[in-house]
């Protein structure tokens, strides 16, 4: 458990620092690279939570697919050295973010959680597949709808960026 604790603190500090860099960096391209670092450390946090399948999916989908997509979008919409300035709502946004953070920390600390402390030892891939596709209270319909959603998103993206 000691090694997991050290891993959690290192990953948490790096992920929060990378997320702060995303919103504070002036250079958008570097912000995108820090976003990918943040996603990678979140994959590590999934591993400390013994969610092995999700850690792999996180690296594939977020770091691989979404990261490359965002870098492509930055390359295609390069504004002439404008960087990433803050808008008029900077101070209200800071206030709302801090208000949310204080409220959430207060709620989390003051709630009495019923936790099972010992680590789940079995690999999660089989359990996730059974929860997804089992006949009773499974997620088969949601799975099919997700497939339709992805198809609609692909077609929508193609229609939006097609040259007239």
């Amino acid at each position: 458990m000691m090694g997991l604790d050290i891993a959690f603190w290192v990953l948490a500090v790096v992920s929060v620092g990378a997320a702060l860099a995303v919103v504070l960096m002036r250079d958008i391209f570097r912000a995108a690279l820090f976003l990918m670092l943040c996603f990678l450390t979140v994959a590590g946090i999934y591993i400390t939570l013994s969610a092995d399948f999700l850690a792999g999916a996180q690296v594939l989908i977020y770091v691989g697919a979404i990261g490359v997509l965002i870098i492509f979008a930055i390359m295609l919409t390069r504004e002439s050295r404008r960087g990433s300035p803050s808008g008029r709502l900077r101070l209200p946004a800071l206030f709302i973010g801090l208000l949310f953070l204080v409220t959430m920390v207060f709620v989390v600390v003051s709630t009495d959680w019923h936790v099972i402390a010992e680590l789940p030892t079995e690999p999660t891939t089989t359990a996730i597949a059974q929860a997804l596709f089992s006949g009773e209270d499974g997620f088969v319909l949601a799975f099919e709808i997700a497939a339709a959603l992805l198809l609609a998103a692909i077609i929508g993206a193609i229609v939006l960026v097609r040259e007239k």
Binding site: V16, I66, I70, G87, F100, L101, M104, V105
Partner: protein, 101 residues
């Protein structure tokens, strides 16, 4: 003090607050989309933490669906930004007033 459920939930809240600040404060539409991705990831951390500390696998199944929706949202959102950039030559969110009355 060993790491427990509260630590993961507070980490999730911190990441969500950073993403919220980015969405509200930034002007570049791509950075706003990146902040939305940070918020979705923060929610995923909370889901996986609840799943691990209650030994109920449904939390991780929901995370898979959130990832699917996040991927679809990123694809459509970036396509919208590129389409707007073509017609307006800017990605400044404060200059998008096509649908303003």
């Amino acid at each position: 003090m060993s790491v427990g459920l509260e630590h993961f939930l507070i980490l999730s809240a911190v990441l969500f607050a950073i993403g919220l600040y980015g969405v509200l404060a930034k002007r570049n539409a791509v950075v706003i989309l990146m902040s939305i991705e940070i918020m979705l990831t923060a929610v995923n951390i909370a889901m996986v933490a609840f799943s691990r500390y209650s030994h109920i696998i449904s939390g991780q199944v929901f995370v898979i669906f959130i990832m699917v929706v996040a991927a679809a949202e990123a694809a459509v959102g970036l396509a919208l930004i590129i389409a707007i950039y073509r017609s307006r030559k800017t990605v400044d969110a404060e200059k998008f007033d096509l649908m303003k009355w």
